[in-house]
Amino acid sequence: MVSRSLVTVVDDDESVRESLPDMLKELGFAVEAFASAEEFLASDCIDKTKCLILDIAMPGMSGPDLQRELTRRRQEIPIVFITAHADETIRPRVLAQGAVECLFKPFSETELLEAIHATLRTR
């Protein structure tokens, strides 16, 4: 049996933490969800995570802050940023920092799936 890839969701919005994992499970992934970057860093999921779906704007440590922290720790986890913010100038900035994709909410299932597959390909 092929073990399913672990996709980890970090978002402070509870509805995202409910809906996105359900969808990813339907798509065949193993999923973990955290409400903040700090919770994720404190967990034992970092090494197992194959794809990190990360909200940009969060109270406390933001998505990009976590990205920097992981880089500092030499944890090379492929990241798909998601944001409800309308400012599109943010996308090139996070891509330049090494993110695989940046999706603007609301995004479709296809967009999300493509982005996850892209991260898995980078492995």
Binding site: S15, A57, K105
Partner: protein
């Protein structure tokens, strides 16, 4: 020596008399008179004595009693003789007297003059009781109080005498030894002298009466003289004090005398007066002569003329207003005296009062203020002219409650109706303010602002004095200002809409994202075999939830950015704050600001406009966020707090850790178009202040102990239905 029998008082006399059981008969020997050998009558001597008595009566009536006593002594050849007269006071005759006194005594008992005996227990009383001459022997045996009256009386012949048929006293003759005894001749002579004694008594009474009359008249004259002296002194003081002018005059027009006050009034001097040049007829201007003629007619008819106002010419040709009153001297028929009061000061005061009233009327006219008084007990209402103009009523028509009601707006309570309510509620006497509207016959509206003051008149009756101002112009200006402020606030909100776009997008994108994701998952769950219905139901539920969440955002946006007039409602400031935070938290987070809300539990509501208050909160949050955009050396932190403030107010504060202000905080901070931000327009805080002040609150800024500033506002906790402008003084 005075007789020890001299009475001190009647009562003392009565109690001082020792009781004796010796009967009267034992001391009487009257019958012996006719058995004794009688000496022959000496008519010549008797006639001489009578002539002497008569001439004394004519020439020296006050000594008649003493002369009579001496005559008895002389004719009867006795040792002592005298009179006893009924008296009440021991010194003046009185036919109703209760004792006897001895006004005159000749012979050995001379020193006892002034003494006397009781009426009811003594020899004189016995004589009057028996109404005849009595001869006593050693009467001190029955009447021991006579023992000290020495020498003792061997025999005493007592004869009553009468005036108008009434016994008033006795004459008596006493032998102190038995060298001779009284006989029938003595009885005859004494009876004869008794008749004379009656005349003498009447003469004496008349003299006493005359004396009394003279003394009364002298007393009266003295009183009159004293009164006259006092009156004269008073009149002299009045004349000399020169408080009022005093003039002596005659009907021909001459002024025969005047005091300084009068001369000063008309500017003449004593020399002018002495020369006769000062005549009241010349001093009177032609138009006042009619008044003078009427006064003269009154004088002739009644002797006085009633005070009246007139004018006199002064020496310099000017005029002086005076009040004049006066009277003719008694019995003169031509001359009299008058007082003259200078009315110049009063006239000046009257002119000043008229001027002041005119100013007041003009002032009322200019300021659109009318005034009125209302006597509660009598319902008597008095209006100023301006109030008639404001109500557009004919000046002077009687003011009634019904008339007032025709002008007061049907939905409003008139001032007097309000006064009645206040009066009933507080037993009268409250001052208060009141606002109401008038509706004119053409249906135009006027706004009234009234201030009433309760007072009591001299009889203690409640009276309201009120001023009523037509504030229509001010009211319309205020309405226009409120509208402008509302529009400005809208502009400010729309401007903030641009900067909130990201935040709004975020608020909408979150639920939209949920909807899309849940809907996709739902489809996928239904497509499996068998379909995962439970999972699909759950995702469908989430889809609906997120749809509602999006629609809430839209509703909030619509409320905040719609341009609508101010509304008054009960506002929960905590809830209003949470809604603002929901809309703006993304923008704040984007600035990497940590927002902490410390909202007080059980916060009472305030009365106001929810959207306006939310705009103030939003402005303060955005300012706080902007103030920290350049801060990198410390946490960017906003703490928003609500709580109770002093004086029944609710406070909201927004504390930042931004760049703050140099001390002191600029005065113009809340002025329009004052800004410290590079891209700011200076509208936010100005609009915020307008909004807070229209909520009867205040807004301020204070530097923190650490970095940054705290902005805060405080508004009164509300009671719905309370009108801000209405208050009891």
């Amino acid at each position: 020596m005075r007789g020890p029998a001299k009475p001190k008082t009647d009562a003392a006399l009565e109690t001082s008399i020792p009781y004796s059981e010796l009967p009267l008969e034992s001391i009487l020997c009257t019958e012996e008179l006719h058995h004794r050998h009688s000496r022959p009558p000496d008519y010549e001597k008797e006639n001489r004595a009578l002539v002497k008595l008569v001439s004394t009566l004519a020439e020296s009536p006050s000594t008649i009693l003493q002369t009579l006593s001496e005559t008895i002594l002389d004719i009867t050849q006795c040792d002592s003789a005298g009179l006893s007269l009924l008296t009440n006071d021991g010194k003046t005759p009185d036919v109703c007297g209760k004792s006897f006194y001895w006004p005159a005594i000749a012979g050995m008992w001379g020193p006892h003059v002034g003494g006397g005996t009781p009426r009811n227990f003594g020899p004189c009383g016995d004589v009057l009781d028996q109404n005849r001459t009595l001869l006593f022997r050693h009467f001190e045996r029955r009447y021991p109080y006579l023992l000290p009256v020495i020498p003792a009386a061997e025999e005493c012949l007592l004869v009553p005498f009468y005036v108008a048929g009434e016994a008033v006293g006795t004459i008596w003759a006493i032998m102190h030894s038995d060298r001779r005894k009284f006989d029938a001749e003595d009885d005859r002579v004494m009876a004869s002298l008794g008749k004379f004694a009656s005349s003498a008594y009447q003469a004496l009474i008349r003299i006493e009466d005359l004396k009394f009359q003279v003394s009364e008249r002298e007393k009266a004259e003295a009183e009159v003289r004293e009164l006259a002296r006092g009156l004269e002194a008073k009149i002299r003081r009045l004349v000399e004090a020169n408080v009022v002018g005093i003039v002596m005059w005659n009907l021909e027009g001459a002024i025969t005398g005047a005091n300084e006050a009068f001369l000063r009034m008309v500017q003449y001097d004593r020399e002018d007066l002495a020369s006769g040049r000062v005549r009241w007829t010349d001093l009177t201007p032609a138009e006042w002569r009619g008044h003078d003629e009427r006064a003269v007619a009154q004088l002739k008819a009644t002797g006085i003329f009633q005070p009246f106002e007139k004018e006199y010419f002064r020496k310099d040709g000017g005029r002086v207003s005076v009040l004049l009153g006066g009277a003719l001297f008694e019995g003169s028929g031509n001359e009299g005296v008058a007082f003259v009061l200078d009315l110049s000061e009063q006239k000046r005061a009257e002119r000043a009062l008229r001027r002041s009233e005119a100013f007041l009327a003009e002032g009322q006219h200019l300021s659109q203020i009318g005034s009125f008084s209302w006597r509660v007990a009598t319902d008597e209402i008095t209006w100023s002219e301006q109030l008639y103009r404001i109500y557009e009523l004919e000046i002077g028509v009687p003011v009634t409650l019904e008339l007032i009601r025709t002008r007061v707006h049907p939905e409003d309570v008139s001032l007097i109706e309000k006064m009645k309510m206040v009066g009933q509620a507080s037993d009268g006497g409250n001052d208060f303010e009141w606002q109401y509207r008038l509706m004119m016959p053409d249906h135009s509206l006027k706004y009234m602002h009234a201030v009433a003051h309760a007072t009591r008149d001299q009889d203690g009756q409640l009276e309201y004095i009120a001023v009523v101002q037509d504030v229509t112009a001010r009211r319309l200006t205020e309405e226009a200002r409120d509208k402008a402020r509302s529009e400005l606030a809208h502009v400010a909100r729309v401007m903030s809409l641009g900067t909130l776009t990201a935040s709004i997008a975020h608020e909408l994108n979150q639920p939209l994202s949920g909807i899309v994701t849940n809907a996709s998952t739902c489809m996928r769950m239904l497509a499996t075999d068998p379909p995962n219905v439970d999972g699909a139901r759950e995702t469908a539920r989430r889809t609906i939830r997120d749809g509602n969440r999006a629609s809430d955002v839209i509703a909030r946006l619509r409320a905040l950015f719609s341009n609508r007039g101010a509304m008054t409602e009960s506002v929960d400031l905590n809830e209003a704050t949470r809604e603002v935070l929901a809309l703006s938290s993304t923008e704040i987070q984007q600035n990497r600001v940590i927002l902490r809300a410390e909202l007080a539990d059980d916060l009472p509501p305030v009365t106001g406009d929810r959207v306006q208050l939310q705009q103030v909160i939003l402005n303060l949050l955005r300012n706080a966020s902007d103030a920290m955009s350049g801060v990198d050396d410390r946490p960017r932190q906003i703490v928003i707090r609500t709580g109770l403030d002093d004086g029944d107010c609710i406070r909201l504060s927004v504390q930042d850790s931004g760049v703050g202000f140099e001390a002191p905080i600029p005065d113009k901070l809340f002025d329009a178009f004052y800004t410290t931000k590079s891209g700011g327009m200076g509208i936010g805080l100005s609009v915020s202040r307008s909004i807070i002040e229209s909520h009867r609150g205040r807004i301020w800024a204070a530097r923190n102990d650490g970095p940054g500033v705290t902005f805060a506002f405080s508004v009164p906790r509300g009671r719905l239905g309370e009108e801000p402008a209405r208050r009891n003084l």
